[in-house]
């Protein structure tokens, strides 16, 4: 049995959560990879050797020298921009939009899921129907439709991702809520006259957090891939914003000659997604231990 202090401080509970991570090597590895990218994004100004937007020397291979001093560690792209610097600044793009989009998708999914799972009946029927209609579209077609209609910008990426992922989250939350609403503490809350909102957000939601946190990590990985795909299709952030997907798209035609232009952004995307997947796996493992 763990020892508990009498006055749990918020910081204390955060520390114990991090302490739990140490139970799983997989989670530790995933967390380390994610932390690496977060640090890269935070200190992009310090880490980037060049300006990501200035055209320096086109089409340099990795490790070639910059006449103005310094190295192009990963080479330069078609327009002569330093690839390493663009990847570093691209981290900021990804780590701003992916969590934001996941968060909004979760807000919508949780509200819908709690309502459907708690009220059941007609409310649930309507919500489930809407969710199923959205889920029945091929995701890519959906994205193209949305972005083509409302135009490509950061906000619109968030909107598109929210629209496409909220139904999946709705289903998870709905399932959990349907189970949790039958608990006796929910009955206890009902018998003392609590409002439906209180029951949904205080009695049900906090107790569904375990599976939701695991899913959120996994889903953030998908969102990162999605943002990459959107960038690749030319529907991501408008150029010249450094964007991993856009970089791969730009490098596509020259891939046989200059593979490095595409490979390094690919590695960046994969490693971040891998990190999130490992973290999610590890969290699941830890939650099973408990």
């Amino acid at each position: 049995m763990e020892k508990t202090s009498n006055n749990p401080h918020p910081l204390h509970s955060l520390l114990t959560t991090i302490g739990l991570l140490r139970e799983s090597r997989v989670a530790m590895l995933g967390a380390a990879i994610c932390l690496f990218w977060v640090l890269v994004a935070l200190f992009a100004d310090v880490l980037a050797p060049h300006d990501p937007l200035s055209n320096l020397m086109p089409m340099q291979k990795p490790l070639s020298e910059n006449p103005q001093g310094g190295l192009f560690w990963l080479g330069t792209d078609l327009l002569g921009r330093d690839i390493l610097s663009r990847i570093i600044y691209g981290t900021q793009t990804v780590l701003i939009y992916a969590p934001l989009a996941t968060l909004t998708a979760y807000l919508v999914g949780i509200v819908m899921g709690l309502a459907g799972g708690y009220y059941q009946g007609r409310v649930d029927m309507v919500l489930s129907f809407v969710a199923n209609v959205i889920l029945s579209f091929p995701v890519l077609v959906l994205y193209i439709l949305i972005i083509a209609t409302i135009g490509s910008s950061g906000i619109n990426i968030i909107l598109a991702v929210t629209f496409a992922s909220a139904p999946g989250i709705f289903r998870i939350v709905r399932g959990l809520a349907m189970d949790l609403r039958n608990r006796e503490y929910v009955a206890a809350a009902q018998t003392r006259g609590e409002s439906a909102l209180w029951i949904m957000f205080v009695e049900i939601l906090p107790n569904a957090r375990g599976p939701l946190i695991v899913d959120a990590c996994l889903r953030m990985g998908y969102v990162i891939i999605t943002i990459g795909v959107l960038g690749f299709l030319g529907m991501g952030l408008p150029p010249p914003t450094p964007d991993w997907g856009g970089m791969i798209s730009d490098a596509r035609k020259l891939f046989p000659v200059f593979p490095h232009m595409a490979i390094f952004p690919c590695v960046a995307i994969s490693s971040l997604v891998l990190g999130l997947n490992l973290l999610s796996d590890g969290l699941r493992e830890i939650s099973l231990n408990d």
């Binding site: 508990t4 009498n6 608990r183 206890a188 009902q190 018998t191 003392r192 006259g193 205080v202 906090p206």
Partner: protein, 707 residues
């Protein structure tokens, strides 16, 4: 003459986990003769099931036998290879588990599963196997065995499933049968049938049995010898009669003090819970494991060295693990803490329910139902509920699962509304008011204690936060400091330390959680508390403490308690009035003395006789009910009990529903049998005068009979 089937000597089993070796069973000895049945009794976590699994050589991956031997028919089980064990398991040693549905494969026909057992262990053809399987189903008294052979497990009831499991275990004619709480998941009347069956079959096939249970009454009914276990050790062993009548170990005594016996009531012998909790295996004290909870603990002797088990002189069979057993006198009751037998005068009428009905509509959306036009079915969960409760009174609602008890609680609490009839709380109608439509003072006046301790508290919030929310919600107290003070007051009320306010529910034991559940119900000073099986999920010693607490608070605050339960011995012990429900209908109601004495409704009679009684001085009449409780969607046209009634008098029972008629003042029975005839029925319990140390204040139904 009679050979030893099983000899276990000095068996020790440990679990190995991250925190090292945890001894689960220590120094366990047992000798089982041919045809003998031995009971293993103890509370959860005492190592009963671990012993059974060790005999089967089927321990968990992280458990290991660290010493001792298990010899079955002279063969050392601990040294057998996997192949040899396969020959023994299911063939010579069979096991029956608690949950019948989990023991049967849901995707195979029952016949198929039975035949499989025979074909696996004997070289016989399919045809013979089928005949033998059918034969065994007849032996376990299943109605229509041929149909059962062709059924899937989910198509038969829980009681029938357990009979199939028993048939399956006996098919290979095992020499040893292990039963791990075989009736715990079943209703009392079904349990009585299974217990009877087990006794009958063991005698017929001359099978030796090890019967694991937490219920002392069942042990008395099924076994000839008993081993009382505590924290991985046998603390007392002997013939059932010796141990039950002249127990020597304080823990055995404690267990008996925790259960209500039919020869006593709450005034003559209040339940005496064992204080404290079972120690975790790695926190066991030095010396006697029971020491910290024992009233006879003597520092220096009880906590010095490991205590061995020693036999009583002249009774080598009866042994006890206690250093002080010769000095302790457990027979004379310690000064009975006669609390001024309060609760005599009950206050004003708080709750009055008259002709309450609750029907559910079930829509059958299948095509055939639509074509036939009967797509709406009605479930008559509550048919005619009428009774009243007064301040300070305990009214028990008794019935088996599916009788509509929980629906009734939901209507009272306003989670559902009644279909018709009247529910008056303090004279105001609440029958058609959902909880959200009730006035705050009405919700506050009626609160509930729930059944499942692991489900009753929100796992995400601390105890203090949850109690504070209730107080704030009921608006009686304003201000942070005042609410905090009230939280501490409530914790004190349920005898928990103040620091529990900062704990999360998972840091509490089952009994402690249930105490918080009680504190929560009493937070707004309710006038009526509905308790839905509040102790059925707890161990006896813990349950006794919680029951006691609930009664104490009730007396202090003069609250009316509606106690919903299937446990008649508990009901008899604590209720003032009893309402017996069958299939949504009240079949009998009256004061506790009236209900537990003739005239009985035939259903009440069966329920009372199904109580396992842990008292050798009580002679019990056995009434075993046939069949299962009918579906509330399709109840019998006449008397609801007519399909199972052992005293059915003819077609009137099938055709006309009996009215509740008054037998004495306040005692009503709904039965077609004339009252005079019901009065002649002899009481279910009779005291065996020869052994009696007659208890003071004999309650009504225990008239001495010439048994």
């Amino acid at each position: 003459m009679t050979e030893n089937i099983l000899e276990i000597s000095n068996l020790s089993i440990s679990y190995f986990s991250r925190s090292g070796e945890i001894p689960a069973v220590v120094d366990f000895n047992l000798v089982l003769k041919q045809g003998e049945s031995i009971g293993l009794v103890g509370e959860s976590g005492c190592g009963k099931s671990t012993v059974a699994m060790a005999i089967m050589q089927y321990l968990n991956g992280n458990a290991r036998i660290v010493g001792g031997s298990i010899r079955f028919k002279g063969r050392e089980l601990t040294r057998l290879s996997a192949k040899e064990l396969q020959q023994i398991r299911g063939n010579e040693i069979a096991m029956i588990y608690q949950e019948p549905m989990a023991s049967l494969n849901p995707t195979l026909l029952i016949g198929e599963q039975l035949i499989e057992v025979l074909r696996c262990h004997q070289k016989i053809n399919r045809h013979e196997a089928q005949a033998q399987a059918l034969d065994m189903l007849v032996n376990v008294h299943l109605p229509d065995p041929a149909r059962v052979m062709q059924a899937y497990p989910h198509q038969i009831s829980g009681g029938q499933q357990q009979r199939v499991v028993i048939a399956m275990a006996l098919l290979a004619k095992p020499a040893l049968l292990l039963l791990d709480e075989p009736t715990t998941a079943l209703d009392v009347t079904v349990e009585a049938g299974i217990v009877d069956l087990i006794g009958e079959l063991a005698a017929r096939f001359n099978t030796s049995m090890i019967y694991i249970s937490h219920n002392l009454g069942l042990i008395l009914e099924t076994c000839s010898r008993v081993n009382v276990m505590y924290s991985g050790q046998i603390v007392e062993t002997g013939a059932v009669k010796n141990v039950f009548d002249r127990m020597k170990h304080p823990y055995t005594k404690g267990l008996f003090d925790c259960i209500p016996l039919p020869s006593t009531d709450k005034h003559s012998r209040p339940l005496k819970p064992i204080r404290g909790q079972l120690p975790l295996p790695h926190q066991r004290p030095k010396g006697c494991f029971f020491g910290p909870r024992c009233d006879h603990f003597q520092p220096g002797r009880c906590d010095s060295a490991t205590i061995g088990i020693s036999s009583l002189p002249r009774q080598p069979d009866h042994a006890v693990r206690c250093v002080r057993w010769q000095e302790i006198d457990l027979d004379t009751p310690q000064a009975p803490q006669q609390e001024a037998s309060g609760g005599t005068g009950h206050g004003a009428e708080l709750l009055k329910i008259s002709d309450m009905q609750k029907y559910y509509e079930v829509h059958d959306r299948s095509l055939t139902a639509l074509l036939k036009g009967d797509n709406v079915k009605v479930v008559k969960a509550n048919e005619n509920i009428s009774f009243s409760a007064h301040a300070g009174e305990t009214v028990a609602i008794v019935g088996e699962s599916g009788c509509g008890k929980s629906t009734f609680a939901k209507v009272l609490m306003g989670l559902e509304t009644a279909s018709s009839g009247e529910v008056l709380l303090n004279g105001e109608s609440i029958a058609d008011k959902h909880v959200t439509e009730r006035r705050p003072d009405q919700t506050r006046a009626m609160q509930m204690v729930f059944q499942n301790p692991f489900d009753t508290l929100n796992p995400s919030l601390s105890i203090g936060t949850q109690l504070a929310r209730v107080i704030r919600k009921f608006g009686a107290i304003e201000g942070k400091a005042a609410i905090q003070a009230r939280v501490l007051e409530l914790l004190n009320l349920v005898k928990l330390p103040a620091e529990f306010a900062h704990r999360k529910p998972r840091q509490l034991s089952g009994g402690q959680k249930q105490r918080i559940g009680i504190a929560r119900a009493f937070a707004g000073n309710p006038s009526v508390v509905v308790a839905d099986e509040p102790v059925s999920a707890l161990d006896v010693s813990v349950g006794a403490a919680v029951t006691r607490l609930l009664m104490d608070i009730q007396q202090q605050q003069h609250t009316s308690v509606i106690f919903i339960s299937h446990d008649l011995s508990l009901v008899r012990y604590l209720a003032d009035r009893v309402v017996v429900i069958y299939l949504g209908n009240i079949v009998e109601q009256g004061s506790t003395e009236q209900v537990f004495a003739p005239p009985y409704h035939p259903y009440t009679e069966a329920l009372i006789s199904a109580i396992p009684v842990a008292d050798t001085t009580v002679q019990k009449k056995r009434v075993i009910l046939e069949g299962e409780i009918p579906s509330a969607m399709n109840p019998p046209a006449g008397c609801p009990f007519s399909s199972r009634c052992p005293r059915k008098i003819g077609s009137i029972c099938d055709e006309k529903k009996p009215e509740l008629t008054s037998a004495q003042s306040g005692h009503k029975i709904a039965c077609h049998i004339p009252l005079a005839e019901l009065l002649e029925v002899e009481p279910v319990f009779a005291l065996n005068q020869t052994v009696t140390v007659s208890p003071p204040l004999q309650p009504e139904p225990l008239r001495s009979a010439t048994a």
